[in-house]
Amino acid sequence: MNALLRPTEIMSPGQMSCPGCGLALGMRQVMRAMGRRCVVVVVPSCVAVTTGPFPNYTLGVPAFHSAFEIAAPTAAGIRNALIQQGQADIPVLAFAGDGGTFDIGLQSLSGCADRNEDIIYVCMDNEAYMNTGIQVSSATPEFTWTGTSPSGNTRRKKKIMEIMAAHRMPYAATASPAFPEDLERKIKKAKSIRGTRFIHVLAPCTTGWKIREDMAVKVAMLSVETNIFPLYEIEDGLKYTINYRSRRLPVERYLEVQGRYRHLKPEQTVLIQNEVDRSWEELSARAERSVVSDA
């Protein structure tokens, strides 16, 4: 039986996240892989809530809580300053939510990626503005209930990985707290690369997704196994590698355990399935082309 290695905890316990929070779990896994030798930037999001109020914080490493939309240039400013000080061996990692990445932070993130700033940017995506309640963001998938899309979201989830790939930065990857070894490998790989590195973590939210407190890991697993959130890497914006061949479970398995999809009509489920299948075909094709061009 494969045993998972006992991790060295960087984050202290006593954090302010909701019980069973998938985002807090993801943060904890990211920090285990980063280790103590780093500086972390946090912006308003559930990451900041989890981190804790003055004078206590959970992160355990030097950190900075900046404004909502500027996680990326903040991290870049620190990183460039550290290099000027001769401390180039200290990586800087920025945590942001989906709001701070897909919406209000997209411009500043794009600017950093374009300049290939030397930071690791981790988007903890719980698919809505959860820190302030449950409000729709451009990371909210189609048909999803939120407090500001009560009949179901009419817009589609932004393809953030495609957007990041278009910048041709060295490394972008998706990761899931249900696959901790894969997540750890990706963070460690990111640490070894110079330039802008982007990690997209889908983090189930018990409150906003209306799932039971013990369901976050299962839901995250189902998101991967249904291909709703495949695990893959993009290097230099062109080379696609699929890290895990899922079982291609039907999307119902993922949707039926979440209260935020309780209102779904059968035809909407079909549309979701079709879109998932189409995206997967596209991703597979890109991965195949990547192998060919490698040869």
Binding site: R36, R37, V39, V41, V42, A48, T51, G52, P53, F54, P55, Y57, L59, G60, V61, P62, A63, F64, H65, S66, A67, E69, I70, A72, P73, T74, A75, A76, G77, I78, N80, A81, L82, I83, Q84, Q85, I90, Q107, S108, S110, G111, D114, R115, E117
Partner: protein, 384 residues
């Protein structure tokens, strides 16, 4: 070394001499020559620091303040729309007690669109907790850049060195550029606190309680008060090192003046000519130059003006719904005098219209003739 250069170039030269570690900026007319010159020098290695060519001014300030917190010397330059876009980050930079120095080129704030000199852009950042000094000419601008790094890094508050579009930014004047050796002696290596220390990790800028917030605001307020002394001392030291000092407030011809004209920035240099002519014509008028705006030098202003019967304030800005901002600030500084002078506000040059000596003389005559001082400003207009 003496050079015949624009104000923008003077800023760039001064910044270079201060050995900045991080420069983050975004182009905007009329700041762009500063940005380009610094970029050029960074590229060629004349500036050893790193230039971040950010995608917006908001990001530029975010990067600067983060770098300043890391403990390095940081600089940015902007104007008008860019400064307005930075607004949120300006509060952050002062709230976090950074030592960022900025060159702010006064330019009209849309709307409507226009590109000439106007002080509203920097004045509307009055309450952000930044120190502000308004420069009269290219030399003062260059000198204040050097002084600003020293002041900001001592007081732990960011500082804006303000120069007008066109009149300073693009006009050429003779400027004394000091030697690197002399600047190094005056401004040693940066010693800002390093907030991200692996040996002593901490989380900068968490959420605080009401009482805690109030306490931090109180400390910043105390620091602003303390800054007055620091600014005066730095100015004096600068004078000793480079032969030029500017004082907190400059006042001339006040001994027998019936009226003192208060001006700022480039209007001051034109006013010097007007006042000289008026004196020659027998008018008992004095001239007071306001340069330091934040912290506002209440005592120095009171000292200079408390016995003057009439004051006319001439400025290139308006706070809609009231009057020119320097005028309001001046009035509030003088309100507790035993016999506060009468103050009349005058607006001219808004939008970058020309303020020439005849116009200034008109202001003085108008003020002298006043029976009743009005609470609102008098619009003088100007030629394009």
């Amino acid at each position: 070394m003496r050079k015949f250069i624009t104000g923008n170039t003077a800023v760039a030269e001064a910044v270079r001499l201060c050995r900045p570690d991080i420069i983050a900026a975004y182009p905007i007319t009329p700041q762009t020559p500063i940005y380009e010159k610094l970029s050029d020098w960074e590229d060629s290695g004349k500036i050893k620091g790193k230039m971040m060519r950010t995608e917006s001014e908001h990001s530029a300030m975010a990067a600067c303040l983060a770098a300043s917190l890391t403990g390095v010397r940081t600089f940015t330059a902007t104007s008008s729309q860019g400064l307005a876009l930075m607004h949120e980050m300006l509060h952050f930079a002062s709230g976090l007690r950074t030592g960022v120095v900025m060159a702010a080129v006064n330019r009209t704030l849309a709307a409507p669109w226009a590109f000439w000199s106007d002080q509203t852009d920097t004045l509307s950042q009055r309450d952000t907790g930044w120190m502000q000094v308004y420069c009269e000419d290219n030399q003062e601008t260059a000198d204040m850049i050097i002084q600003a790094f020293k002041i900001a890094e001592t007081v732990l508050l960011p500082m804006m060195v303000i120069l007008e579009a066109n009149f300073i930014s693009h006009f050429m004047e003779p400027v004394d550029i000091p030697s690197q050796k002399d600047v190094d002696a005056f401004l040693p290596a940066v010693a800002l606190p390093r907030r991200f220390d692996l040996e002593n990790p901490g989380y900068v800028s968490p959420t605080v309680t009401q009482k805690q917030f109030e306490a931090y605001r109180r400390r910043t307020s105390d620091a602003m008060t303390h800054a007055l002394a620091v600014i005066a001392d730095v100015d004096e030291a600068f004078g000793k090192a480079f032969g030029r000092s500017y004082g907190i407030v400059e006042i001339t011809g006040a001994e027998d003046a019936e009226l003192v004209l208060v001006t700022t920035a480039t209007i001051t240099s034109t006013a010097r000519v007007a006042v000289k002519e008026l004196r020659e014509e027998g008018v008992k008028v004095g001239l007071c130059k306001l340069r330091l705006f934040r912290p506002f030098p209440v005592q120095a202003v009171k000292e200079a003006l408390k016995n003057i019967p009439k004051i006319a304030v001439l400025e290139r800005n308006i706070s809609q719904g009231r009057e020119g901002i320097f005028c309001s600030e001046l009035k509030s500084a003088l309100i507790n005098c035993t016999r506060p002078p009468q103050v009349q506000g005058y607006l001219a040059g808004i939008g970058g219209t020309n303020v020439d000596p005849p116009l200034i003389k008109k202001v003085v005559h108008h003020a002298l003739a006043l029976k009743t001082f009005s609470d609102g400003p008098v619009w003088m207009g100007g030629d394009a």
